[in-house]
């Protein structure tokens, strides 16, 4: 059995520590657009990374295969590929497979082979299991059991492209300017302690959920222990993984709306909760009482995405930057305002959200041109 934690975190530190640049852009009307803008925007924040990791997530990417799970797999050897392909044939209905097109780029050294597979679950799964859970389990299996291969994207009609290099180099390598999607997120990485590994770049994804993350989560130890109780195995030993699993638990398994889940990850202070009207107070208090171990404490900004939604969130005292920009149906999230202005100079509005205040872009809902005050959405929901 291969220990992915060892690949990603060879020194076996408590967790991988990194700092980063983040960018996200979404057309809430669902219009698809090319990656040209986001590539320029993330390149504008070049110095926030150090070339040891860059990546993108794109939604609305494969309309032709929208009903199939798109697995992107990185191979370190021919045997690895043979093994995984045999495994996939055995466990899925294969609709289409190809090597992901790339071009020679100066900054990219020793790239692994990356293939994509469009897979249907069909009759392969046990009856009582959902398709999503079946796929998630198989991805875990490949990533922990099979050698020389790593699945870094597994959702439908979306994909993650990532690797070692600056994000603009990764974009050039994977020809991302040629793709179209309605939601893009991007990440440039500055790890302090890993030699870098293709699978360790962001976005980090499970099914169609992806996370790009800037920060260090000081509560990692307990977040991880809590999630392990629900069967999550934190194989990568990064705090980003913990964010992804926490969202998966709260939203997919426990059925909480993302705005409420954000109140778990970055809850209001007890004093602020005491000042809320009774219904909201009780909700917020109960959330903290039950999910206290999921509070993400320490500096972070994350952009979480899945089909139809993009969420920006900082820790509750905003120790890492996040700027929001709105132009018509377009919502921008970025580590730096300059990156947004570079590709959209005439924004309707740009602002810095409060610490712990989730910024949610939703398909079919125009982005809020005004900042939402803390607790407002929850209030209207709770009463």
């Amino acid at each position: 059995m291969r220990d992915i934690g060892q690949v990603n975190n060879p020194y076996h530190d408590d967790k991988v520590i990194d700092a980063c640049s983040l960018f996200g852009v979404m057309d809430t009307s669902g219009g698809r657009f090319s990656g040209e803008g986001i590539i320029r925007a993330i390149a504008n924040m070049h110095v926030r990374g150090n070339g040891l990791g860059g990546g993108f997530a794109i939604y609305g990417l494969y309309p032709k295969y929208a009903d199939f799970y798109a697995l992107h797999v990185m191979y370190l050897s021919r045997e690895g590929q043979r093994e995984v392909e045999a495994f996939l044939k055995d466990r899925f209905d294969l609709a289409y497979a190809e090597e992901v097109p790339t071009r020679l780029t100066s900054g990219i050294i020793q790239p692994p082979a990356v293939w994509r597979y469009f897979l249907g679950v069909g009759r392969h799964k046990p009856e009582e299991q959902s398709e999503d859970n079946y796929v998630a389990d198989r991805v875990m299996e490949i990533n922990t059991r099979l050698g020389d291969a790593f699945v870094f994207s597994s959702g439908k009609d979306m994909a993650v492209f990532k690797g070692m290099g600056y994000p603009e180099e990764i974009a050039a390598y994977f020809c991302l300017e040629q793709y179209q999607g309605y939601l893009w997120t991007a990440h440039g990485r500055f790890p302090t302690n890993t030699p870098g590994w293709w699978g360790g770049a962001h976005p980090f994804g499970l099914l169609d959920w992806t996370v790009v993350h800037n920060g260090e989560i000081s509560s990692y130890g307990i977040n991880r222990r809590y999630l392990e109780q629900f069967g999550y195995r934190c194989t990568l030993q990064t705090d980003t993984e913990v964010v992804a699993y926490a969202v998966d638990l709260l939203v997919r398994k426990h059925g909480l709306p993302i705005e409420i889940a954000a109140r778990v990850l970055a809850p209001p202070f007890w004093n602020d909760i005491e000042r809320c009207p009774p219904g909201e107070q009780k909700l917020l208090r109960t959330l903290r009482q039950v999910y206290g171990s999921l509070l993400l404490n320490g500096p972070f900004t994350v952009i979480i995405a899945h089909h139809g939604e993009m969420i920006g969130l900082t820790d509750r005292v905003r120790l890492r930057p996040l700027t929001v920009g709105v132009k018509g149906d377009m919502l921008y999230l970025s580590s730096e305002e300059s990156a947004i202005r570079l590709i959209c100079p005439d924004l309707d509005r740009a602002w810095i959200p409060m610490g712990g205040e989730p910024i949610v872009g939703r398909l079919g809902t125009s982005p809020q041109p005004q900042p939402v005050t803390i607790g407002e959405e929850v209030t209207s929901d709770a009463n």
């Binding site: 260090e216 307990i222 909480l256 219904g279 206290g292 929901d381 709770a382």
Partner: protein, 501 residues
């Protein structure tokens, strides 16, 4: 019989300073100092001195110095002075050696082998003077998840009763009778002021203290002293006492002399009779019996308050704790090897039980493995000395901490280990009215509240240094601990890595 015991302490009285005022004579409850009228001189019977320092601190001219009697035995690692003297005592009395306070032996104190983390460069530390820093803790059973109404997103989940603590440090069970009413008053007022809880112990709740009910934990122990409906109703939490760290498996014995009128009323037993707490609870011979008592108490109080169960930390704590949670306990209390007592057989106090650090680590891990950690809060006690110990206990997995000895030290106790004699010169562990008035509840409450205030400020500094602004992010977060000078097995049980790794 002529005693062969040497005096433990030497008392020097500086003749230049002594003004023969006899304060020491009046302060000493162990009959050490006396006034020799013939010679007009105050003298000492050193053999009676227990080293409680009461006289030295109250002497107006600071004339008294107390030091250890340097009388050395021939060196012998096996036959150490304490061993020899214990044999002498038993040869002279023929009884069980009794003692007070907690285990004073040299078993490893793991707190001293654990160190905490702090932020540098990659994440900022947080300054608690400028930023909010949260210590608020809720004790009680938590649900597995929060459910909302499908459309309105209103809260559907109704949590079991929760108790709020502003500071994660509570005052542990010390019964009225073992300690004085003034001590109870001091504890109750300090707990109320600081937003935490104090615990009645097994001796009932004095009528004057019902007003502090919302900050009170009432105990139901094997003697059932002072347990009645109003007592249960008054409390915020009900605690079933199965055992205590100082004397696992052993009952209690409050001698008849200590059962004064007031104590007899509160305990609901005749004045002057011995109050005997049986070793086991005679209605609990197994786990299903515990469950029945838990639910009987919940029924009696209409499911309005958490029920806690306290055990001494023993070899199988993890399995026992898991059973307790499944039996319905909302809070489990683990009292470790160093837990203190008003009176216990010395051989039990010093030899039975396991260190609290180990018990806590294994119970927290076990409950997590079984996926039931959220169903009960974990409270630990037994030798917790300062906020550093508190922070480490929380990082190992505790929800809150009980302090007993530390609280008594705040009231004046000098840990002389004479609590079982009923003669406490500091007026703490006694019901002698001449002595109990030495604790003024107003001043006592202030000293206790100050202690908790100091610890909270320090805890906030510790959290801020780690870049964390809420206690729940430290709770069970063992990555913020590292071990020093521990073996692999110890590290494995503690779930902590070696410093430098």
């Amino acid at each position: 019989m002529k005693t062969y015991l040497p005096s433990k302490f030497l008392i020097e009285r500086d003749p230049e300073r002594c003004i023969q005022c006899q304060v020491c004579v009046n302060q000493c409850s162990f009959d050490v100092h006396y006034y020799d009228a013939e010679d007009d001189e105050v003298r000492s019977r050193e053999e009676n001195c227990v080293g409680c320092h009461r006289c030295a601190l109250f002497c107006p001219t600071r004339a008294i110095t107390i030091s250890r009697n340097p009388m050395d035995y021939r060196e012998n690692y096996n036959w150490r002075p304490e061993v020899i003297e214990d044999i002498i005592k038993q040869a002279e009395t023929g009884g069980v050696l009794l003692t007070g306070m907690g285990n004073d032996k040299g078993q490893r104190i793991y707190w001293d082998h654990l160190v905490l983390n702090a932020s540098q460069v990659t994440n900022p530390s947080i300054d608690p003077l400028r930023e909010p820093m949260e210590l608020t803790t809720y004790l009680g059973r938590k649900s597995d998840r929060v459910e909302l109404e499908p459309d309105s997103h209103c809260l559907k989940t109704e949590l079991a009763p929760q108790v709020k603590l502003e500071v994660p440090v509570m005052f542990t069970a010390m019964s009225y009778g073992a300690v004085s009413l003034n001590v109870h008053k001091s504890l109750a007022r300090a707990a109320t002021e600081m937003g935490t809880l104090w615990n009645t112990g097994e001796g009932g709740l004095h009528p004057d203290l019902y007003q502090y009910g919302s900050n009170t934990i009432v105990q139901v122990a094997s003697g059932r002293f002072g347990v009645h409906p109003e007592y249960l109703d008054a409390a915020q939490v009900i605690e079933i006492k199965i055992g205590q760290g100082a004397k696992p498996g052993i009952g209690g014995h409050l001698p008849g002399e200590k059962v004064s009128t007031e104590v007899s009323l509160t305990r609901m037993i005749p004045q002057g009779t011995d109050a005997l707490s049986p070793a086991p609870q005679h209605d609990i011979y197994s786990i299903e019996d515990l469950s029945q008592l838990i639910y009987a108490l919940k029924e009696a109080t209409n499911y309005t308050k958490p029920v806690s169960v306290k055990i001494a930390a023993v070899h199988n704590s993890a399995a026992i704790a898991s059973g307790m949670v499944r039996a319905g306990a909302d809070i489990i209390v683990l009292d470790g090897l160093r837990g203190a007592t008003g009176a216990a057989p010395k051989v039990i106090r010093d030899n039975v039980g396991i260190p609290i650090e180990m018990a806590l680590a294994s119970v927290d891990s076990r409950l997590r493995q079984e996926g039931i950690r959220n169903q009960a809060s974990i409270v630990v006690s037994g030798g917790i000395r300062n906020s550093g110990d508190v922070a480490k206990a929380i990082a190992l997995g505790a929800d809150a901490i009980y302090i007993g000895t530390a609280a008594l030290v705040a009231l004046g106790c000098h840990v002389c280990q004479q609590c079982h004699t009923g003669k406490c010169a500091w007026g703490i562990c006694t019901t002698d009215l001449a002595l109990t008035k030495r604790v003024n509840p107003d001043i006592g409450a202030r000293r206790l509240a100050n202690l908790l205030r100091g610890w909270s400020l320090e805890l906030k500094d510790i959290l801020g240094g780690m870049g964390i602004n809420a206690l729940e992010s430290l709770r069970g977060n063992r990555l913020h601990l590292r071990g020093i000078g521990l073996t692999d097995t110890e590290l494995e049980i503690l779930g902590v890595r070696m410093a430098g790794s």
